[in-house]
Symmetry: C2
Subunit: 359 residues, 2 copies
């Protein structure tokens, strides 16, 4: 069976793909009794994947191929072979990884069935591939970090990010409003319109926010109870300072560089305003969830997508053919690594990068 | 009826008692039907009282006398007269204020019975006068801020403070161990012995802690799950950094000067170590508690005291006679204000200041 995987043999050295390699892999013809064979359909390149490659993410890759680790923590696949004792999955069913670490940057895998979660057949595999690490964190941020009532406000930075776009949409579903902050950029008005179309209530650049709050904190007229920070440092402090009494600040922690940038937390916030500061990690929030619970969550999200209540973000697709199809394996490798580099050196406003596999 | 009160007529200007005055007060001979007359027995001077005087505490004084506010949020009294419709309290019963703001720096008060909580007759009124703002915060810090199991550790600074001493004792009752940090001081060994005698497990000066953790974080060999910070700034950051994965940092917020000193919170703590940062306020934690629930809590603490399982801290008593007894009202005023000044300009290791009223 012809298949291929990206692997990495060592710690990814900040923003270089030197240790990433495309390898042809041969999968067993017959899977183990508790295993299934999965053909992947789409696998996104997430900032979190780069944190993993840099050896800085707490959950490590779970799969090795030929001594090398297989990267990619998110993706959607279809079951193409089923072991004799597997009852939970059937050929033709679609699946997402249950936990972080599965290794999705490959055309196929053979894996224990209990590492997968069944989802309904998605109308758009690219959307489905973003459920676990795009839409699920957004959902859990609004569910688990702070008690939110209709009419409450959430403030977030990196408003153009995948998770932020999903937060806007889930917030709308529960009557919660959003202030969305993004970096100053030339195409601000275009992006602002796009976010408003997603149902953002307020879209500001960092400098607009700064100017505005010098006149009056946003919280004077808005019940801002949750701040979602993907930046840290002064941007994070700025949104934390917009919270009302008893609000919660949450760090997504991906983008701040792991401990170098600092957040100023003062007594005004911590004691007088009673703001809580915490970090968010999807894997921790989902830790107690069964396969069935995850399956139900993702089926519901697919339903929302089909009804037009959730939208897929803008993506840039890189078609990952089989090495056999490619004229030159090295050329494919180069193209795949370019995609990873794009996310590593991400430019403001760059669309999400996704590997899409041959159907 | 001869009685007197301290009042303050304006915002207390940082560490001066210029706006504090002793006034003779005349109380009604007959109390309202829902009221009781209370004679105070002891009323401590807490750092929180000074924050109130400075206009910086969220809960403001609830009583005025002759247009001036009555300070003092903690104390124990005895009921000496009861209104016709009061059934919950009887003459001779002992009481504590239910909420902040009652005004205890006075010999007597007439107050609605529902502002008071009945306690059993205390064997030591000075200990009873410290229940609400010394022992109760300590108890709630260990109950409500982090799930604590036997064998867990708590780290705290300002180890010689009233609350810290109570934390040491309540921790021992639940099998929880304490690391206690205090400022470098000449009589370190003496104080260390005293804290060890209270059942502190580890007592270090700030500089000893700093030297120790440069070799190895305390959390490598101790499950430190809760950090209680009364200092903020570098001392607060130092104890926050001793927490294990999933720990909680709590700011008591009294001593850091209200927003000027800052705490460095980095992603290592917030995201990777999943430490939560929050402020603690007794009034917030007790907000939902009925009079009966508070009464039960304090009765239990008095029982622990009588059994020798809680100890009263070292205190310095200032006898507050009646103005009639005093040769010179001005002289008494000066003595009382000196006591307040002592707490305002508190020196490391100074014992707690308490007003004790004539029996």
């Amino acid at each position: 069976m012809t298949s291929s995987t990206l692997t990495f043999t060592s710690q990814f050295q900040s923003h270089t793909t030197e240790f990433l390699h495309l390898q042809p892999i041969s999968l067993p013809e017959v899977v183990g009794t508790a295993q299934v064979k999965v053909k992947f359909l789409a696998a996104p390149v997430n900032v979190l994947d780069l944190v993993v490659l840099a050896g800085k993410y707490p959950v490590k890759p779970q799969t090795k191929y030929d001594q090398a680790l297989v990267p990619g923590y998110e993706g959607v696949g279809v079951v193409i072979e089923v072991g004799g004792l597997v009852t939970a999955l059937r050929i033709g069913e679609h699946v997402l990884p249950k936990d972080h670490g599965l290794g999705t940057w490959r055309t196929h895998t053979v894996v224990d069935a209990d590492k997968l979660v069944r989802i309904p057949t998605p109308s758009n595999p690219v959307f489905a591939s973003l459920l676990k690490m795009g839409y699920t964190p957004a959902y859990l941020l609004l569910q688990n970090m702070q008690y939110l009532k209709a009419g409450d406000w959430v403030i977030q930075n990196t408003a153009t990010g995948m998770i932020a776009q999903a937060v806007i949409q889930f917030a709308r579903l529960q009557g919660v409003r959003t202030v969305n902050i993004m970096r100053d950029r030339k195409d601000f008005d275009v992006v602002r319109s796009r976010l408003l179309a997603l149902s953002a209530d307020m879209v500001l650049s960092e400098s607009q926010l700064e100017a505005l709050v010098q006149v009056q904190p946003l919280s004077h007229t808005r019940r801002i109870v949750l701040a979602i920070d993907s930046v840290f440092g002064s941007s994070g402090s700025r949104i934390a300072n917009q919270l009302v009494q008893g609000g919660t600040y949450v760090s997504l922690g991906f983008l701040g560089g792991g401990g170098e940038v600092k957040l100023d937390v003062n007594e005004g916030l911590l004691f007088y305003k009673a703001v809580e500061f915490k970090g968010f990690r999807t894997s921790r929030e989902l830790a107690g969830w069964s396969q069935e619970e995850r399956s139900d969550l993702w089926a519901w999200m697919l339903k929302l997508y089909n009804k037009g209540q959730l939208k897929a973000p803008e993506v840039e697709i890189m078609h990952w053919g089989s090495p056999a199809q490619a004229q030159d394996g090295e050329e494919l490798e180069k193209k795949l690594l370019d995609v990873v580099e794009k996310t590593a050196n991400r430019v403001v406003g760059m669309p999400k990068q996704i590997f899409v596999f041959e159907q």
